[in-house]
């Protein structure tokens, strides 16, 4: 029985890794290409004031967009492709923990027969408020 469980665990682990790879690799390559074009600089420039609230560089906006529309794996691919400090990764991590994969997960929550708009507002609200606190406090401490 234990052996069976371990085998099934390995299978699930490989399946998950494969699923991750399918998302992370294309996103990572895409962002790497973007870095060699002016596009990333434009995005970074446009989002600089907003992302500054969290003490994050403007291009980190892409990470938040990918994480919230697609999933955490896409966001992680993008984080790895952009140069960030551990503190900035922690800030992004906390924001994305509260608010990610909004389309898919909201569909799941809807099955519970509760009104979903408040839950989306709660998630985004927490991401922004806690992200700001962690970003600002982290900047003071580092």
């Amino acid at each position: 029985m234990l052996l069976e469980s371990i085998k099934l665990g390995i299978k699930k682990g490989i399946e998950t890794t494969w699923m991750l790879a399918k998302v992370i690799i294309p996103v990572y390559i895409f962002i790497t290409f973007l870095q060699h074009t002016p596009v990333l600089n434009w995005i970074a420039y446009a989002f600089k004031p907003f992302m500054g609230l969290f003490h994050l560089p403007g291009e980190a906006a892409i990470v938040l967009v990918l994480g919230n529309t697609l999933n955490l794996y896409a966001a992680i691919g993008a984080i790895r492709a952009i140069e960030l400090t551990p503190m900035q990764i922690t800030t992004l991590g906390i924001m994305l923990s509260f608010s990610h994969s909004l389309f898919v997960e909201t569909a799941v929550v809807k099955k519970l027969d509760v009104s979903v708009s408040k839950f989306i507002a709660l998630r985004i609200g927490l991401a922004v408020v806690v992200g700001m606190i962690v970003g600002q406090v982290g900047e003071l401490l580092c």
Binding site: I6, I10, M87, I89, I94, V108, V109
Partner: protein, 156 residues
């Protein structure tokens, strides 16, 4: 052009590798815990949530499943339990509130730790916020409001 592609492929493969060495052992542990029904036993230690949030005993197991395994699994167990009629409307709302803010904590936290984030900060803040908000909401909702809500829903 080829240089950029090489940079992208190598970089992304090393990211996937870093995640694989965490995800595969994690899945083994979760699978063993699941097959040996460890969660049922662990659930008994979390009975303080019943008092804290003023929920039914039946809400504890789906809560733990969601926190550890993820929102889809949690929702699956919640739907199952509510079909059996063990959960009240208040339980449902509080479970959903907790789980949208805090789910799959093992996997999510480790994924970010694998790329250099501080895991204690991530997990700590997530748990604190989820417990705080659910507690606040559990004091705000009372049965009267809920029956009004349900009546409105029946009319609609």
């Amino acid at each position: 052009m080829l240089e950029i592609l090489k940079e992208g492929v190598l970089g992304s493969l090393s990211s996937v590798y870093g995640i694989a060495i965490i995800v595969i052992p994690l899945m083994i542990v979760l699978q063993v815990a699941n097959d040996y029904q460890a969660l049922n036993k662990i659930a008994e230690y979390f009975n303080f949530f019943i008092k804290l949030f003023n929920v039914s005993k039946a809400a504890i197991f789906p809560l733990l499943v969601g926190i550890i395994f993820g929102i889809s699994y949690g929702a699956g167990v919640i739907i199952q339990s509510s079909k059996e009629g063990n959960l009240t409307k208040k339980d449902l709302i509080l479970l959903a509130t907790f789980l949208v803010t805090c789910h799959a904590v093992v996997e999510d936290t480790l994924l970010f730790v694998a790329i250099g984030a501080n895991g204690t900060v991530l997990l700590g803040l997530r748990l604190i916020m989820a417990i705080g908000i659910t507690y606040f909401l559990s004091k705000r909702i009372n049965l009267k409001d809920l029956s009004v809500l349900e009546n409105e829903k029946n009319k609609a």
